[in-house]
């Protein structure tokens, strides 16, 4: 019997959303990629199909209902069909997040019969590819082909386009292309500054004026197109004065599993120091979620410093993003500097001020940009070890 006055058990609710980053292999080299910069270290230690199915089963038993199969480019693996069919049979709503490269009719047909719920097509887009895509028909042909397949198999056409300083002025062409592809749901989200995108932040952050014009054009397009397309426009959080409720709170609903089996409360957490993230090869999801120190580290609000600690908005935004706080201040327990109440807010406003300076011509920008590829990743990993 429960003792009078004893604390009720505070077992957290299980994860709702499992994001399976099944590989960091990718044919693209997007400069805004949020995969960890040392991703190359995972290339030789990827989980097997059986490992993944075990993770899906354990998370499902805790009540997870949404499964994202992402990467890297998930289609670089040839067992996605099996993962889709098995996880769908377990009762998941299965989402495939892909650039579309490698999506053949044979594969989409297997996904459909396996019970895949939706396909989110993202635009590959580094500066070089952006030019390809805006000026030639090569990429567009590929996208049109994939878009046709998606329609043919009766999936809603969901497009994600990452916006940044170098492509945001082409918003009209991007929107026209989305329309030509028959997109029904389009998210135009500015890149967030993590990992590769943080490295390239100066070249990726649009000016206030660029944002204003792009949003205005998006609104006009939205009026024109009406119900045919749902259109979302997301500004960089640096332009906000309150932080985002990152992941709806640490270890609250979201479980990310990296290709090497590391279980993380978000895509970026691998970088945080002082935490030992559990691996699904060694622990079951129940222990990881409920008992591992890493998943409890920033759950709730006991870890908070001022001004979060006494802030009446702390249950709304959870102090923002732990990774952003760490990246910018070196301390993951601080208030996300995006918050205007943060003593480190100047780190944001200084960066925003820089983004208002005139843009150098694209020809000068390109060589400065850090492309996401295996060579750069390996170099970054070796620098980290030094």
């Amino acid at each position: 019997m429960t003792k009078v006055g004893s604390e009720p058990s505070k077992k957290p609710k299980g994860p709702m959303w499992v994001n399976a980053e099944i590989t960091y292999k990718c044919p693209l080299h997007c400069v805004f990629c949020y995969n960890p910069m040392d991703y190359a270290s995972t290339l030789k230690s990827e989980l097997s199909t059986a490992d993944w199915l075990k993770v899906f089963k354990e998370a499902r038993e805790l009540g997870a209902v949404q499964l994202g199969i992402s990467g890297g480019e998930p289609l670089m693996r040839d067992d996605v069909e099996e993962m889709v069919a098995e996880s769908s049979a377990m009762g998941y709503y299965v989402n495939l997040l892909t650039s579309g490269i490698g999506l053949t009719e044979e594969r989409i047909s297997a996904f459909k019969s396996g019970g895949l719920g939706q396909i989110q097509l993202s635009f590959q887009d580094s500066t070089k590819e952006l030019n390809d895509f805006l000026s030639s028909t090569k990429t567009f042909d590929l996208k049109s082909k994939v878009a046709k397949l998606i329609k043919q198999y009766d999936y809603p056409m969901v497009l994600n386009v990452v916006l940044h300083r170098l492509n945001i002025d082409h918003i009209d062409q991007i929107l026209e292309m989305a329309e030509a592809m028959g997109a029904e749901h389009v998210e135009l989200a500015n890149s967030q500054y993590y990992a590769w995108a943080l490295k390239n932040r100066e070249h990726l952050m649009p000016s206030r004026e660029q944002l204003r014009i792009a949003e205005e054009k998006t609104n006009k397009f939205r009026e024109k197109i009406g119900n045919k397309m749902k259109l979302y426009f997301v500004v960089p959080d640096y332009y906000a004065d309150r932080p985002k409720a990152c992941m709806n709170g640490w270890g609250s609903v979201f479980l990310n599993v990296a290709p090497d089996g590391l279980a993380l409360p978000c895509h970026e957490a691998r970088m945080l120091p002082g935490l030992t993230f559990p691996n699904v090869r060694e622990h079951d999801v129940s222990w990881i979620w409920n008992d591992s120190p890493a998943f409890q580290a920033y759950r709730g609000d006991s870890w908070m410093q001022e001004p979060c600690k006494s802030c009446d908005e702390r249950e709304k935004d959870f102090g923002g993003c732990r990774c952003q706080a760490y990246q910018l201040t070196g301390d993951a327990t601080k208030t996300d500097p995006v918050c205007s109440k943060s003593p480190d807010h100047h780190l944001i406003t200084e960066q925003v001020a820089k983004a208002q300076l005139p843009q150098p011509p694209a020809s000068e920008v390109k060589p400065l940009i850090f492309y996401r590829d295996d060579k750069n990743s390996k170099q970054f990993a070796s620098e980290m070890q030094d």
């Binding site: 009540g63 209902v65 009762g91 719920g117 939706q118 009766d154 809603p156």
Partner: protein
């Protein structure tokens, strides 16, 4: 939009309907989201099978729960579900 009560009601393609023990109720799953359908809403949605019309769903529920005047509540729920794009009559 008004729902045709004589035509079969189907679940829109991007939804998945099932019972969730963790939520202790029926739910609708859709891309990146979940709608809880507690109590009677779950019982109504359970009958959306692509064959039954709104009228048939009502009479079936009246058989299951005799003596309860549920017609208007069921219609309201289905109209609402139709407006929200969960279901359609075809």
């Amino acid at each position: 939009m008004t729902l045709d009560v004589t035509k079969p009601i189907v679940l829109e393609r991007q939804f998945r309907f099932q019972f969730e023990p963790a939520q202790d109720c029926y739910v609708l799953l859709y891309p990146e989201g979940l709608i809880k359908l507690p109590g009677s809403s779950g019982e109504i949605m359970k009958l959306v099978d692509g064959k039954l019309s709104a009228n048939e769903i009502i009479s079936q529920l009246e058989t299951t729960f005799p003596g309860v005047d549920l017609k208007q509540d069921v219609l309201d729920f289905l109209e609402n579900a139709n407006d929200k794009g969960w279901i359609r009559a075809e």
